[in-house]
Amino acid sequence: MANPMKIRARVDGDVVQVRVLIGHVMETGLRKDAEGKLIPAHYIQLIDVTYDGRSILSAQWGPAVSRNPYLAFKFRGGAKGGKIRVAWIDSTGQTGSGETAVE
């Protein structure tokens, strides 16, 4: 469970609000550790959110997105029970994904 993820999606009228928290270090590559050595860059670069397979948001991130990223947005056309899926890939090639049903 190195990169836990928490997704909440709630429908209100015809709009679904999606909130995503992703466990990720988002290291810039510019920080030094206690011994003064640079900590290598390690951050999410691509993220994609789908609703029942259709992309509802995608993004390119740099190292300036905060550690343990948070993202919230809204889309139309979703309904209770629909499947929200979040997938990401980071600068080291590591990937992660999570899924939830719209409430």
Partner: protein, 155 residues
């Protein structure tokens, strides 16, 4: 929740996007566009970024609403909320003027998704934060100065 611990090597001669597609991680729409834009993240000026993203000089716009605190208690986590009222908004980017990499994030907004993003960015020091919106091929922006403060006992 599902966790993938698979690690992929960049040097394997396969693109990341291809691998993600193979892993079923990306939707088809994203795949078309998904290629991390190294040049964009290296841009040092708003105008340069707009050009790299395929547009001309951005125009300041009152149709972009930037909600954020004027003062951040800590630069590591600065909450921002951007809403674009520019018709036909296709993407919203967040830029931090004095960061080593100016571009923090660029969100692609497909039809049906509201042009309204909340996220959190890092700020190296007090400076302007820009929201850069692409709509119908043109770029628009708004800026807000956010002060980053020193906190706590000081060390």
């Amino acid at each position: 929740m599902e966790q993938s611990r698979r690690r992929f090597l960049n040097s394997a001669g396969v693109t990341l996007v291809g691998l993600m597609a193979a892993a079923g991680l990306l939707g088809p729409d994203a795949l078309a566009a998904a290629q991390w834009n190294k040049a964009a993240f290296a841009a040092r000026k708003l105008e340069d970024l707009a050009r790299i993203l395929g547009g001309s000089a951005p125009q300041q716009s009152g149709d972009i609403v930037f909600v954020g605190p004027e003062i951040a208690e800590n630069g590591a986590v600065v909450p921002v909320e951007i809403t674009s009222h520019v018709p036909g908004t296709e993407s919203i980017a967040i830029l931090v003027e004095k960061n080593p990499n100016m571009l923090a994030a660029n969100f692609t907004i497909p039809p049906g998704t509201l042009p309204e993003i909340q996220t959190r960015v890092k700020m190296a020091e007090t400076c302007n934060v820009y929201a850069l919106v692409k709509a119908q091929g043109r770029f628009y922006y708004t800026a807000k100065e956010i002060k980053v403060t020193v906190g706590g006992c000081g060390g």
